[in-house]
Amino acid sequence: MKTIYLDNNATTMVAPEVLEEMLPYFRDLYGNPSSIHTFGGQVAKKIAEAREKAASLLGAEPDEIVFTSCGTESDNAAILSALSVNPGKNHIVTSRVEHPAVKVLCERLAAKGYRVTELPVDSDGMIDMDAYRRFLTPDTAVVSIMWANNETGVIFPVEEMASIAKERGIMFHTDAVQAAGKIPINMKNNEIDMLSISGHKLHAQKGIGILYIRKGTSFSPFLIGGHQEKGRRGGTENVPGIIGLGKACELAYLNLERENNYVKSLRDRLENALLKKIPRCKVNGHRQNRLPNTTNMSFESVEGESILLLLDQYGICASSGSACTSGSIQPSHVLRAMGVPYTMIHGSVRFSLSIYNTEEEIDFVIDVMPKIIERLRQMSPYWRHEQEACSSV
């Protein structure tokens, strides 16, 4: 059975060009980039190239790029550093819809005595900017807000938010794991201090990430050890990972247009067809202000895990915010923060596309999905067919 992969916000396929670029560094060119000899030195050169490519994607300077092991490490390093270089300040501002890499860390910090404010979002998943301004205080050490939400794809005005923080002398970090490679990012045009990226969300391998640290930003390292990454992240470099990520950043830059036209058109085709063919379903999150590849849809009266496992029978990969799939008993914290009713929250499905998806794949999903929903609704005690009549309005 062919796999139809529509779960690219979870992870992505390693691009063939990326793998090609990495392979020699597993096999033949295994030198340590810190070594004096030519054998190691050639690896150091390749890492410098990768750093330049990563910087280009972000409109950054190569020196501002620190390679890490993953998005979570970047998020942890940024927030803990900000607290450490602002020892007198005790307040953290974040949002209710952050990824666990930020959310759970902040919960831990709250338990240790930090004051944490989680900004609410509205029913479209958008942040209330007036509330944001109100919450910033002279005691605020750092603001950490994601650039785009992983579940809904909703984009936050982090550039504007960073400027507001800057005016007040507050450090600003953004988790751009979902945004990077999907929407343009140019660090020359904003005042964001730190930004996190994860390799495997943009067609590089798992286990590699980036922390962007703006020149002049005080930084206290998370991993302490050797002089690697200019002392900002100790530990021998993940050489193939870094080289692969460099290539992936180069490709992402070249594919940005395709992502925003082709991928967006596929996403819209899928979303509009499902909205038309399936009664009582809706899109979660702001329809315009959103990543081009993501749609989060809720299907009333059915449960997400059942939908996913039936999709799985057709080789279709997606994810859900239902309780049974979230790894806890409670459904998605993002959809709950948006006030999505329980009748809809358990039946939520996220499709996240990539440039490797085709029109045929999308049409196949459009064909299969209504049957799956109908089948589960036939089984559901909450589904009444007369509902359909009033729902088509």
């Binding site: 239902s322 309780a323 799939t325 036939q378 089984m379």
Partner: protein, 279 residues
């Protein structure tokens, strides 16, 4: 990805008895959409008062659908009395087991069955049953008590897996813990007086002590390179000699009192005393 058995998959992909029986003899609806799973079952009896047909409708995950399908299959052909004996463990077993986090699906099945039978028998729900412990998922004290006693649950986490109680805001964890503690303290209280163990002859006592040492105590001691030997039993005094690593171990006294004596008291007689003899 959940680790489902083939039987769960089969009942999820091809569920049996989906639907609703018109004019049923028994009917029940449990769970709620807020909780993420809900189940409605209906059944009909034949002239011999056996369940001739049963159907379900469910809103829930794969294991909720499979549990409901299994339940309706299991009760068909049974009398009310026979059906009433089905526990959530029976449902899980029928499916070849469920992941621990999914046991609440089988509990939901049992709950629906009990309620449906009550509806047939014309029983009213007792108001005592209505004391809500977990506000997030609307789980009552009686539901928690039943899950704990039937499944021998000992931790709050297990109770959450079986009933969802405590899985939301977590505010009720202390109350759940208190229910667990109360049930086990009641159990031991009930056991103690009624147990009234018959007086043992000396021969029986020695035999039981020997068996307990062999089965329960020696394997643990051997694990650390030690051993004990039973030398004599005088009344309730048990004389033992330490061997192997125990003989030279500084902590052997603690082991004899804290582990050997405790075990023997638990298995043989509550007033035994273990003493070490040096030879």
């Amino acid at each position: 990805m959940w680790d489902y058995t083939d039987k769960v998959r089969e009942h999820f992909l091809n569920p049996k008895n989906v639907g609703e029986i018109e004019n049923p003899d028994g009917v029940a609806e449990v769970g709620s959409i807020a909780c993420g799973d809900a189940l409605k079952i209906t059944f009909k009896l034949d002239e011999n008062k056996r369940i001739i047909d049963a159907k379900f409708k469910t809103f829930g995950c794969a294991s909720a659908i499979a549990s409901a399908s299994a339940l309706t299959e299991m009760i068909k052909g049974k009398t009310i009395e026979e059906a009433a004996k089905i526990t959530n463990q029976d449902i899980a077993q029928y499916l070849g087991g469920l992941p621990p986090e999914k046991m609440h699906c089988s509990v939901l099945g049992q709950e629906a069955l009990t309620k449906a039978i009550d509806s047939y028998l014309g029983k009213k729900e007792e108001t005592a049953d209505k004391k809500i412990i977990c506000e997030c998922f609307g789980v009552t004290e009686a539901e928690i008590e039943r899950a704990v006693t039937q499944n021998h649950l000992t931790t709050v986490e297990e109770v959450t897996n079986y009933t969802k109680a405590g899985g939301g805001c977590g505010k009720c964890s202390d109350r759940i813990k208190a229910i667990i503690d109360r049930i086990y303290s009641e159990e031991t209280q009930i056991k103690k007086p009624s147990a009234g163990r018959p007086k043992l002859t000396n021969i029986q006592k020695i035999k039981m002590i020997e068996e307990a040492i062999e089965r329960e105590i020696r394997p643990s001691l051997k694990h650390d390179g030690g051993d004990i030997e039973l030398i004599d039993v005088i009344g309730n005094r048990i004389l033992v000699a330490t061997r192997g690593a125990c003989a030279s171990c500084m902590a052997s006294q603690a082991t004899l009192k804290g582990f050997v004596e405790a075990k023997l008291r638990e298995i043989v007689l509550p007033d035994l005393v273990v003493e070490e003899v040096t030879q």
